[in-house]
């Protein structure tokens, strides 16, 4: 099997797995309990918070553990929006953001959805044309999950700050894959998910800059300084920190490796004469390739590749009568005849050159 869907989830890192083991077996003490048996759990939480903060240039007390990217996004948007004022987001956000914004709209709030360029980029000028003193929250993703485009977060966050708005970024696809420093980026909140960077599923975090006016999302106990109730998943949190640190230490190496694999696949496809376009223009996150083929439905391609033991994603879905193109490809105005035939190949550091060549050859065999 060739796994090339790393934007969906990643394989758990073995060191991360080993970091979980003691907290699943012997060290099961509730970190909120004051007795000495829970000391190891409390220390693990503290260490993980510190490690994660270091990886993104934050302070440890600015890291709040959650159940993953979706919870982090829900918290940032629903609580970050406060009780009044407008919200701005983009038309290519993940559904965790889009549907949180829809919930705000149902509650009577005004939300603007910014258009993007053909490359899947939110332009500063577009934000500046919409933002005003009434804007309470701006939420723009760091890296798009379908096409891998990297947003100009620093510029967008600065524009929000100048208007006195809070800026949140869904960085689920970026954290652990590209260098991210919350202070340099100037963001107030940032969402991340453990399983996107070789950590376990069901755990993530929300960075909340000190002084950001946001209330608790989960009511209950006093965990996470009373901002996120619920007994901490110590094993997963410890593992997430190990995985993030490992990924951050190897970013340069990974970039080089993934770039090489990308070029191998694209060169092969171009040489073969297959009619395709690469969405996002290739300036995005390393390893993420959204390719649109003119002659075949994306879903058909996905299943044909699956029969050859290759896992990828599609940018369209067919219910047997009609092919639905994703909201991201529609926002980017990808021509329909190509958009229907879109697949996302998202490579990971464990993919090999041999696998890249097999992916390319399998595509050629199917399409020719």
């Amino acid at each position: 099997m060739i796994y090339a869907d790393n934007a969906a989830t990643t394989k758990l890192d073995m060191d991360a797995f080993e970091a979980m083991r003691p907290f699943l077996l012997e060290e099961y003490g509730n970190a909120s309990q004051p007795y000495s048996f829970s000391r190891t759990s409390r220390r693990a939480l503290k260490d993980a918070r510190m490690t994660i903060a270091e990886c993104i240039g934050a302070l440890p007390e600015e890291i709040y553990f959650t159940s993953g990217g979706t919870e982090s996004d829900n918290w940032a948007i629903k609580m970050g929006a406060g009780c009044e004022g407008e919200v701005i987001t983009s038309s290519i956000e993940h559904h965790a953001v889009l549907n949180s914004c829809r919930a705000l709209e149902r509650a009577g709030r005004s939300v603007s959805y910014l258009p993007v360029t053909r490359e899947g980029i939110v332009c500063l000028e577009t934000l500046e044309s919409v933002i005003s003193e009434r804007t309470k929250l701006v939420s723009i993703m760091y890296v798009n999950n379908e096409v891998g485009s990297i947003q100009p977060i620093r510029e967008l966050a600065r524009a929000a700050r100048q208007r006195g708005s809070c800026f949140h970024t869904d960085a689920v696809q970026g954290v652990g894959h590209i260098p991210i420093n919350v202070q340099e980026a100037g963001v107030d909140m940032l969402s991340a998910s453990g399983h996107k960077f070789n950590g376990p599923k069901g755990v993530g975090f929300l960075y909340i800059k000190n002084g950001t006016g946001i209330s608790a999302f989960m009511d209950g106990g006093s965990q996470e300084r009373q901002y996120r109730a619920g007994t901490e998943n110590v094993a997963a949190i410890a593992a997430m920190a190990v995985a993030l640190r490992k990924n951050c230490l190897a970013l340069g190496e990974a970039r080089e490796h993934l770039g090489r694999l990308e070029r191998m696949i694209l060169d092969r496809l171009r040489l073969s004469g297959v009619d395709f376009i690469r969405n996002g223009g290739g300036k995005g996150i390393p390893g993420n390739m959204s390719l649109s083929f003119r002659t075949m439905d994306g879903e058909t391609l996905l299943h044909r590749l699956d029969l050859k033991g290759i896992c990828v994603s599609t940018g369209s879905a067919c219910d047997g009568t009609k092919t639905q193109v994703s909201h991201v490809l529609r926002a980017m105005k990808v021509p329909l005849e190509y958009a229907r035939g879109t697949i996302r190949i998202s490579l990971g550091v464990r993919n090999t050159e041999e696998e890249a060549l097999r992916i390319a050859q399998s595509l050629i065999d199917i399409l020719k």
């Binding site: 075949m296 879903e299 058909t300 299943h303 029969l307 067919c318 219910d319 047997g320």
Partner: protein, 65 residues
């Protein structure tokens, strides 16, 4: 009209067989393979195709309802 397998001539291809042809070869195909010939053409097994049909049905694909 009875639909025949384009490869072996087997007659009476059912709705699921026609559906899986459309799903894996493209919605616009006009000729169809029987399950065994389709599995051979795609270098897979009939069992794998039957699994796919069940998954498509569970997803609500109208070709298999």
């Amino acid at each position: 009209m009875k639909i025949k397998c384009v490869a072996c001539g087997k007659e009476g291809l059912n709705k699921d067989t026609v559906g899986i042809n459309k799903k894996l070869l493209g919605n616009k195909v006009e000729t169809f393979y029987c399950m065994d010939c389709l599995a051979g053409y795609l270098d897979t097994t009939t069992e794998e195709l039957l699994e796919k049909i069940e998954e498509f049905r569970e997803e609500g694909c109208k070709l298999f309802l």
